[in-house]
């Protein structure tokens, strides 16, 4: 009885291994390598893109050029990969379309971030100086003094720059 059980278990394991082996034959290793390479490139570009978004948000990046480059690079990778994912497995054509959709959505979001961040940083930079001007004017009770009436943000050379 034990021997019969061993034979059955062995046969089941062998059948399982054979099925797995058959599955691997259905995938071309070269194509799989190509797809993995495309996905790795996209992952790397995306990570760099995120880094530059954070650097822009915190003011470490002084302009938006670094945010534009990953966008172009990601689109180029996706364009050059056109159809390669679907060629490996037809079910991947859906995923490829979703990937492109997600990339375009991210481009749109980053563009909105740049537009809003520019206004925000400008406003934040201006608020303390404008408040100080108001305080000065209030203290002087409306009296005009030609030299000091010029707003501080015009006179200041300490205002941060982004060029």
């Amino acid at each position: 009885m034990k021997t019969l059980l061993r034979v059955v278990v062995f046969a089941a394991l062998a059948a399982g291994l054979w099925l797995l082996y058959r599955e691997t034959l259905g995938v071309d290793p070269a194509q799989r390598e190509q797809v993995a390479s495309i996905l790795n490139d996209l992952r790397q570009i995306d990570a760099q893109w995120d880094v530059h978004v954070l650097r822009s948000k915190t003011g470490l990046d002084k302009n938006y050029d670094p945010l534009t480059r990953p966008q172009v690079a990601a689109l180029q990778v996706l364009e050059s990969s056109g159809g390669k994912l679907a060629a490996v497995d037809y079910r991947l054509s859906d995923s490829e379309a979703k990937l492109k959709e997600a990339l375009l959505a991210k481009i749109d979001l980053v563009d909105r971030f740049k537009a809003q961040n520019a206004i925000l940083r400008n406003s934040l930079r201006f608020v303390p100086l404008a408040a100080e001007d108001l305080k000065t004017k209030a203290r002087r009770g409306g009296r005009r003094h030609a030299g000091e009436d010029a707003p501080r943000w015009r006179r200041s050379s300490k205002v941060s720059t982004r060029c």
């Binding site: 563009d111 537009a115 930079r125 060029c163």
Partner: protein
């Protein structure tokens, strides 16, 4: 075609044409006196330097930044004032990115133009409504910065903008 094949062995392919045109366009650079200044050459006049300082202090540089002094982002035309209401008759061109995306958030949103060679590219804005740099600066101050610029400051900013004009043969 033979010359093309010498560079691209697989011949005229869309991606090769795209790459060769892009490479050619990248060679069309017009370095200006401003670039020389950024590299440490201090031949700019005091008034040009003051103009650059005002350009930064007023906040123009929030959008006109980077290598192209603009050209790398989109922005709403009329952040602090309704330019299009004041302008009156709205045309399709006034819709901006909305005309392409049909997204309401893109209404009156335009690409921020590069200011390189701006002295030579009048009239200004998508509708060519500003005939001079002076007029364009007035509109930008009123609708993008919510301020008015003293004539003296405008003149200095114009001085700075003229340093962005490319010079042929300059490296």
């Amino acid at each position: 075609v033979a010359q093309f094949r010498a560079v691209y062995p697989d011949g005229l392919q869309p991606r090769h044409i795209q790459e060769s045109i892009a490479t050619f366009e990248r060679s069309l650079i017009t370095p200006s006196r401003f670039d020389r200044y950024l590299r440490g050459d201090s031949t700019r006049s005091t008034r040009e330097k003051q103009g650059y300082q005002l350009f930064k202090n007023y906040g123009c540089v929030a959008c006109h930044q980077g290598m192209g002094v603009g050209g790398n982002m989109y922005q709403t035309f009329g952040v602090l004032g309704n330019y299009f209401k004041d302008k009156g008759k709205i045309t399709d061109a006034d819709l901006g990115r909305y005309a392409v995306t049909k997204n309401e958030a893109d209404r009156h949103v335009f690409k921020v133009p590069s200011l390189r060679n701006v002295e030579l590219t009048a009239p200004y804005f998508h509708d060519g409504s500003a005939k001079t740099l002076d007029e364009a600066i007035d509109v930008m101050f009123r609708y993008q910065l919510g301020r008015t610029a003293p004539a003296a400051d405008k003149a200095l900013i114009v001085k700075f903008l003229k340093t962005l004009t490319g010079e042929k043969g300059m490296q």
